[in-house]
């Protein structure tokens, strides 16, 4: 407990033993955001990765604008997906290493809420950031202006699902020394539906077709993820920490 009390965010959470679910959620969210904001270099890494992967495509395939515009929806989505995946490994890693994850599991508070808050904090610093940066990078890939709204909305609805599903992989591998590559193996197949509907939305926006269907599907995946993924994440964390 000694090293925990040096951490103000954890400390304030420990004091309020009678927190409701809402209070617990906000406290866990604040703690994770504060801890992440203190490591600024790790924050921008996914964004830099996103930009670099995007840069590789014109270099590797073709710099011709028409061709890139056609490629843009898929490339943007794949890059966003890989950037999210890359950031996944650190989600529970530091908490596991310094023992605060164990304290979270031991606490009488519902793990579901804490896990959801942690994933939300992770999404705000990766998925949301990617969504905000994406239009700038989309311009570099000559994505037509009509596609921007579709890109933003699909990323906004799709990246939280990526964070939720990725967190399952992170929770399963948190006890392992080298979890990084393994996470991609576990999680990438599960990302496929989000990728399909996400790129579908952007392509529909570019060609002027209605977006609603794709966004509804992404929203449905998100609803399913929010309700079910925290259960799997909690179970996986308990297994990883006890093993």
């Amino acid at each position: 407990m000694a090293d925990l009390s040096t951490n103000p965010a954890t400390d304030s959470r420990m004091e309020h033993r009678t927190l409701g679910a809402g209070g617990l959620f906000v406290a866990a969210l604040k703690r994770d955001l504060m801890l992440s904001l203190r490591r600024k270099s790790e924050l921008v890494n996914p964004l830099i990765f996103f930009l670099m992967v995007i840069t590789l495509f014109p270099l590797g395939v073709s710099p011709e604008p028409g061709f890139l515009a056609e490629l843009a929806p898929g490339v943007l989505w794949v890059a966003a997906l890989l950037a999210t995946l890359l950031s996944m490994d650190s989600l529970f890693r530091t908490d596991f290493d310094d023992g605060s994850l164990e304290q979270l599991l031991l606490s009488p508070q519902p793990l579901f809420v804490v896990v959801l808050a942690k994933v939300l904090a992770h999404w705000m610093l990766t998925g949301l950031a990617l969504t905000l940066v994406a239009p700038v990078i989309a311009v570099m890939l000559f994505l037509p202006a009509e596609g921007m709204l579709g890109l933003m909305l699909s990323l906004l609805l799709g990246t939280p699902t990526l964070s939720l599903v990725g967190a399952i992989g992170a929770a399963l591998t948190v006890g392992l020394r080298k979890g990084g590559v393994l996470i991609s193996l576990l999680v990438l197949p599960l990302y496929i539906p989000v990728l399909i509907f996400g790129t579908g939305a952007v392509q529909a926006a570019v060609t002027g077709l209605p977006l609603g269907g794709y966004l509804a599907l992404l929203g449905a995946l998100l609803a399913l993820g929010v309700t079910l993924a925290p259960l799997a994440i909690s179970a996986a964390l308990r297994i990883s920490v006890s093993g």
């Binding site: 399963l172 393994l182 197949p189 399909i196 995946l221």
Partner: protein, 245 residues
Amino acid sequence: MPRWFYQLASPRWCYQITGRLLPGFSIVALLLLLGGTVWALAFAPADYQQGNSFRIIYLHVPSAILAQSCYMLMAVAGAIGLIWKMKVADMVAKSCAPIGATMAVLALLTGAIWGKPTWGSWWVWDARLTSMLILFFLYLGVMALNSAIESESTAAQASAVLALVGLVNIPIIKYSVEWWNTLHQPATFKLTEKPAMPAEMWLPLLVMVIGFYCFFAVSLMMRLRNEILRRERRSGWVRDLLLSK
């Protein structure tokens, strides 16, 4: 519920019961597979459009069906292991994964061989092929996780959670891939829809499917028995068993 059913939960009894079932299942699997193959290759009528090349269906469809049901069994066994902490269920789940992965590869390979004469290319990004490929990836993920974790029980629990997550995802992946395909390219290949076959064609297929299931049971039991011996190697009965031979 008969007594042997409960006894299956104990590794020792499970080993003995599967030992008794194994010869029977092996003989039935061998007879069905041999009979089904001869019937399918020599006696079933050729397809009026595809000629003899369609006969690979007799390998392709059973392996594809088995790849899917093997995942179901793996996830259900994993859930049983997770909930009731039954060691044998963990071992069944672990033994299922390589068999299912092999079946998925077999389905993909036979699909590719079948695709060459009918579609003109080895690989097509068709909805069914793609979802089988993804199923193969899911198997690989479960196997990779299982081998990455040192502790046997933790590995079994973690892969069970992953298998269950995959089970929820399989229908989503299946439908999303189907929509993706129909959205991007209109259905060129009606082959993905099962044609209404005459009985002379589907009866051997049925025999092959049952034969594959029996073969699956045999190979699962053999893997399971190995796994039981490996995990219970420190217990007295395994030592007695191995020394008495």
